[in-house]
């Protein structure tokens, strides 16, 4: 059942013009950022080569091209998730689900996997560009893979947050605004750093804290767990929210 719902959700996303518009804009953004990073690398390569442990192209692209894309997906993921439940509220189609033999959990998971599939396709699109460099030079696949994993995990967590806010309102754009606001908050958490213990504690929960190592080619259990917890938390909140509708009517 979850598979069927996921299929129908991703099909409906892929049918909408908005998804393809986002994909088109993303392709341009990816290309621009990628070429810019590449040009910078070529400019500073002589001075890099003089260092003891010179940064390779892969490491440079991970930090200068893939890492900034997390911010792009902080907007793209909520945009793709915004209609998941807002549209059901707006078109009053939730009754269809509520009166069908489908549990709320199956419905939410199905929708989340459906959205995830489309997001992962876009993440894949972003990672194709560095792979092209393989034609010209040796790449460090390790650092590129860990960066891709970081980007994918973060994007899926952003989608879960977007889906949750989508279940709260029938106005899709409000869902996006709320998601982005929360993400900015999570991003800046503890960064007003004067080194106090409170700020350091808060920083443990911020997104950049858990992203950095992915882009240095290091996959930490705690960092993976952080994003998985975010995903599960917001999926659970969405389920609770939708179940509560049966009680308020």
């Amino acid at each position: 059942m979850i598979g069927a719902i996921a299929g129908s959700e991703s099909r409906s996303l892929l049918r909408s013009a908005q998804t393809w518009l986002i994909a088109g804009v993303l392709a341009l953004v990816f290309a621009y950022l990628f070429l810019q990073a590449l040009e910078t690398y070529l400019d500073i390569q002589p001075s890099l080569a003089a260092q003891d442990h010179p940064t390779g192209l892969s490491g440079f692209l991970a930090v200068r091209y893939l890492a900034p894309l997390v911010m792009v997906f902080a907007l793209v993921s909520p945009l793709l998730a915004m209609k998941s439940f807002s549209d059901e509220h707006r078109q009053q189609t939730l009754a269809l689900w509520q009166s069908s033999p489908v549990s709320t959990t199956a419905m939410v998971l199905g929708k989340f996997f459906g959205i995830s599939l489309v997001i992962l396709l876009m993440v894949l699109l972003a990672c194709v560009m560095p792979l092209f460099m393989r034609l010209f030079t040796n790449l460090d696949i390790g650092v590129l893979s860990s960066s891709t994993l970081g980007l994918a995990l973060a994007s899926l967590a952003f989608a879960a947050i977007g889906m949750f806010f989508s279940s709260m309102t029938k106005h899709a754009i409000i869902a996006v605004a709320a998601s982005v606001l929360l993400l900015v908050l999570l991003w800046l958490l503890g960064s007003a750093g004067n080194g106090s213990s409170l700020m350091n504690a808060l920083a443990l929960f911020s997104i950049p804290t858990h992203l950095a190592s992915f882009f240095q080619g290091y996959i930490g259990t705690a960092d993976v767990a952080y994003f998985l917890v975010l995903i599960f938390l917001f999926i659970a909140l969405t389920i609770v929210r939708l179940d509560s509708l049966r009680h308020v009517g």
Binding site: M1, A4, I5, S8, S12, R15, S16, Q91, Q92, T93, L94, A95, L96, W97, Q98, S99, S100, P101, V102, S103, R246, H247, G249
Partner: protein, 250 residues
């Protein structure tokens, strides 16, 4: 997963003492209903009497504060999925995805109702003929007229051949011609299952139903079989209509 505890009697819907508080001064009180195969019950009442809320509770979309709903022996509270698999529900706003095409929409609905994959095309075909939708099956639902949309809504409730059919004002906003068509479909559907449909029109209830229940201010105040002579019912309903404006002013 679906245990076989249902008894095999033909009591398809049984609601006992449904109670639900809606606001400080409105509530549904002790509504009990029992329907067998072949029953078509008209839930008659003025706007705001509690018809929609009652149907929501019967369909499982709203949890009652107390009381129980059983569909073909399955409790809506303890075995919600088994119970919901056996109902078809058309809310007062049909739950339609306007960007989908009619056939694809009905296929999705069949899937959600766990219709066996191999049987989906056949069931969709049946319901398309039953509701006269073949002429529009490739159109987007958003482009359809009100009458067609209502019929797609009805088709969605019928596609999995449920035991119990719950229709919330199905002929609202239809012209007399479309109303006739809707009545025909409901009568046909009613021969094989139990149907409840709400309306605020007495003559519509009389035309389609073999039983009528009158709801007023959240209570069931009258329930009777439709016979040739319905004078008592007509008087009761006329009195309600007369009372209503006074109640509103009070």
């Amino acid at each position: 997963m679906l245990s076989n505890t249902a008894n095999s009697t033909d009591k398809l819907l049984e609601a006992t003492q449904l109670h639900r508080r809606l606001s400080p001064d409105a509530q549904i009180e002790s509504i009990s209903l029992s329907l067998q195969r072949g029953d078509v019950l008209g839930l008659l009442g003025l706007n705001g009497a509690g018809k929609s809320t009652t149907l929501k509770m019967l369909s499982g979309t709203l949890v009652p504060d107390s009381g129980e709903v059983k569909i073909s022996g399955y409790s809506m509270r303890d075995e919600p999925l088994a119970a919901r698999q056996r109902i078809g529900y058309l809310p007062d706003t049909p739950p339609l995805y306007t960007e989908m095409r009619v056939r694809a929409y009905l296929q999705l609905c069949a899937k959600l109702r766990r219709v066996n994959k191999a049987q989906i095309p056949e069931k969709v075909e049946t319901v398309l003929s039953q509701c006269d939708l073949h002429s529009v099956e490739r159109q987007r639902i958003g482009q359809l007229s009100k009458g067609f949309r209502q019929r797609v809504g009805l088709a969605q409730a019928l596609v999995h051949e449920p035991d119990v059919l719950l229709l919330d004002e199905p002929s609202n906003g239809l012209d007399p011609n479309q109303m006739q068509g809707m009545r025909r479909i409901i009568k046909e559907a009613g021969s094989k299952r139990a149907v409840i449909f709400s309306t605020h029109l007495l003559n519509e209830a009389q035309a389609v139903c073999n039983r009528i229940a009158v709801v007023h201010q959240g209570r069931l105040i009258h329930e009777a079989d439709v016979t040739g002579d319905n004078q008592q019912l007509e008087e009761l309903f006329t009195n309600l209509i007369r009372e209503q404006p006074q109640a509103a002013n009070a």
